[in-house]
């Protein structure tokens, strides 16, 4: 023990006082959000998950930080959480992966859980939920609701997981409505509400009557659709339908509460191990939002039936034969595009109007 450590020990002993052990929480969990936890979208889904964990495990304390930039700042926030006693860190954005891997290497005793399903470390678990089945079901409902047979999607960037969602959506729509087409506009950013409003308006002007959205917060696009009397489908968070009481169709949302509870329990009882968790419609990580008033009962029945097929393993969202929107065959008849390979899906399926890159 060097001199500085001795002084630090003395000082902390003086501060705490002799013989008085402060009430230690059983576990401190640190969670970092890339945006605001009231965005009715990606971040709120994670924040609600942590709230659910707190309800399940009142003895766990949470350090929650919003609006943490992806990069060196994230590393500093994680380290400061660890210094304040956090033993489980949830860096809740894909872009926190590299900073988290670096911090995880420096603190092998601290456990990490990172959403994205991409990389792991001995003390870093990766988790995500497979969304194409859900998007297929949304497409199915939207295909039944649309009158113009044109559906629009406002999407941040043409990355493979988003392309897969749009493809599944279009396939679902076409399964009940062969004329349904999905038009995609990429805004180039996860958060620029004014640009999202302009993109949504551009799509509506092209005759689209259902709007979907894959950016951090669905609020602007869903509101724009509602104002123009169009329908909308949501993503990320269950509560988004309050922005479109009339035009809401449905949405898929992440429900992380049980998973976060499990992580916290595992860290407390020492059973935490690095895993690759990929949830699906069949388990409790993904939920379908309640249908809005625009959805006919028949569509709701179809969605439910298809959902049973997906969860029972009797159907696959990317069942061949599939062509991309340039006419190239991508999946042969009788084959499927494996959901574990979504990172390689760099094409848009026939029926989608848009450029994958």
């Amino acid at each position: 023990m060097n001199a500085r450590a001795i002084v630090a020990t003395l000082v902390s002993a003086l501060l705490v006082g002799p013989g008085v052990a402060p009430a230690q929480p059983k576990l401190i969990v640190g969670i970092l959000h890339v945006g605001s936890i009231t965005d009715a979208g990606y971040n709120q889904a994670h924040a609600d998950g942590i709230q659910a964990m707190k309800r399940n495990l009142p003895e766990v304390e949470v350090i929650e930080v919003e609006n943490v930039p992806e990069g060196a700042d994230a590393e500093r926030v994680m380290e400061s959480m660890i210094k304040r006693g956090a033993r489980l860190i949830i860096p809740a954005s894909f872009g926190y992966l590299e900073p988290a891997l670096r911090v995880a290497q420096r603190y092998p005793d601290v456990k990490f859980a990172h959403p994205g399903g991409y990389k792991r470390a001995p003390n870093l678990t990766t988790y995500w939920a497979s969304t194409p089945e859900g998007f297929y079901l949304l497409g199915l409902a939207a295909g039944k609701v649309t009158r113009t047979n044109k559906i629009g999607y406002v999407v941040a960037l043409p990355i493979s997981f988003f392309l897969a969602n749009i493809n599944a959506f279009e396939l679902g729509a076409r399964s009940v409505n062969p004329k349904a087409e999905t038009r995609v506009v990429f805004t180039g950013t996860f958060l620029d509400p004014a640009k999202e409003a302009t993109a949504a308006t551009a799509l509506l002007d092209q005759g689209v009557d259902v709007l979907g959205v894959i950016v951090d917060s669905p609020i602007t696009v869903v509101q724009t659709a509602e104002k123009r009397g169009a329908y909308s489908v949501g993503y990320h968070y269950l509560g988004a339908q309050k922005f479109a009481p009339n035009g809401w169709i449905s949405g898929i949302a992440f429900t992380w509460g049980n998973l976060y509870t499990r992580f916290a329990r595992q860290v407390m009882d020492g059973s935490f191990k690095s895993e690759n968790i990929l949830g699906s419609l069949g388990d409790d990580l993904l939920a379908i939002a309640p249908f809005g008033p625009a959805v006919p009962a028949e569509a709701a029945r179809l969605v439910d039936a298809k959902r049973q097929e997906f969860t029972g393993g009797r159907a696959h969202p990317f069942q061949g034969p599939l062509k991309d929107n340039t006419g190239l065959e991508r999946v042969k008849a009788g084959e499927v595009f494996p959901l574990t390979d979504l990172g390689k899906m760099n094409w848009l399926v026939e029926g989608v109007v848009g450029q994958p890159r």
């Binding site: 945006g35 605001s36 009231t38 965005d39 009715a40 919003e66 609006n67 629009g152 043409p158 038009r183 995609v184 506009v185 990429f186 805004t187 180039g188 950013t189 958060l191 620029d192 509400p193 004014a194 640009k195 999202e196 409003a197 302009t198 993109a199 308006t201 551009a202 799509l203 002007d205 092209q206 689209v208 917060s217 609020i219 602007t220 509101q223 309050k242 922005f243 109007v353 848009g354 450029q355 890159r357």
Partner: protein, 305 residues
């Protein structure tokens, strides 16, 4: 089909260009008085958040715009105090102001994210709105859109046809000479920066209660910096700012429209379009005319006030 495309394109151009125009005019006024404000984005954000919060609280978008203008003016007055009275470096102060505005607006706005508002109402101009194609594109907008061009003309008139404007330009060119001629550079710069803050606040309000009708952190997404660049493009002329703002707004609108129409061009290329266009225009006009920047832009006036 082409008519629908043109209508949507022009309407999108007007909507995207309006906040840029207000912000560019704000920066033109400040820079004409010799003060460059790189923190314009922060001032816009303060306007955006205060405008949104006020609209939620009062239910009146007009009150929101007024509050946004006042908030922008107050925030820019703080900047004026730092660079005029405290003689702080303008570039460093501007950047500090930017991050201060980002943080403060996020703090103020956090409880209001996701609060629904009606926002600024779309006003249809009777008669004109029924002109084919251009009518619905140009004459079905909110009041801030209609006010933007008159404000630009008023700014031009104030800067180039009034004694006050002469004083502003004199201070921007040579504050020592202006002082010798009996003008107070301090008073003139304060006036210019408060006016600039008003306009920047309105620019932010148009984003939050006019276009997006929602508040999100850093929702200006770089528009403040684009406005600072547009000032150079406009050669510090309010009327040229109109062209710059709507050219840029048009490019943003065009790239979204082309995608919505399914034009087979990469979205990455389309996303560059506004910037490529700006570079092309700057290159084309680069050598023309005299250098238009105010002579003492960015310099700290060391004389008496």
């Amino acid at each position: 089909m082409i008519a629908a495309f043109a209508r949507s394109l022009v309407a999108g151009c007007v909507v995207s260009g309006t906040p840029l125009l207000y912000a560019t005019l704000a920066e033109v006024i400040g820079e004409r008085a010799g003060v460059v404000n790189l923190g314009l984005e922060g001032v816009m954000l303060m306007g955006a958040v205060v405008g949104f919060v006020t609209t939620v609280q009062t239910g009146s978008a007009a009150a929101g715009v007024l509050a946004a203008a006042l908030a922008g003016a107050a925030f820019n007055a703080l900047f004026a105090w730092l660079v005029v009275d405290r003689r702080a470096n303008q570039l460093a102060t501007g950047l500090a102001l930017l991050f201060c505005g980002v943080g403060l607006s996020a703090l103020i706005g956090a409880p209001y994210i996701g609060r629904p508002i009606t926002g600024l109402a779309e006003l249809t101009v009777p008669g004109l709105a029924s002109i084919p194609v251009l009518g619905p594109a140009l004459f079905v907008h909110d009041a801030l859109v209609y006010a933007a061009l008159p404000v630009a003309v008023a700014t031009w008139w104030a800067l180039f046809s009034t004694r006050w404007g002469l004083a502003v330009r004199a201070v921007g060119e040579n504050p020592v000479a202006a002082f010798a001629a009996g003008r107070s550079p301090r008073a003139v710069q304060y006036q210019a920066l408060v006016l600039a803050g008003l306009l920047a606040g309105i620019a932010g309000a148009h984003l939050s209660i006019g276009v997006a009708k929602t508040w999100a952190e850093w929702m200006t997404a770089g528009r403040g910096f684009i406005a600072v660049a547009l000032v150079v493009f406009a050669r510090w002329q309010p009327l040229r700012a109109i062209a710059g703002a709507f050219l840029f707004g048009g490019a943003i609108s065009l790239q979204l429209q082309l995608q919505a129409r399914g034009v087979p061009i990469s979205p990455f290329v389309l996303d560059m379009l506004p910037y490529v266009l700006s570079l092309a225009v700057l290159a084309a006009g680069g050598g023309m005319g005299r250098h238009a920047a105010p002579g003492s832009l960015g310099r700290v006036f060391q004389g008496q006030r």
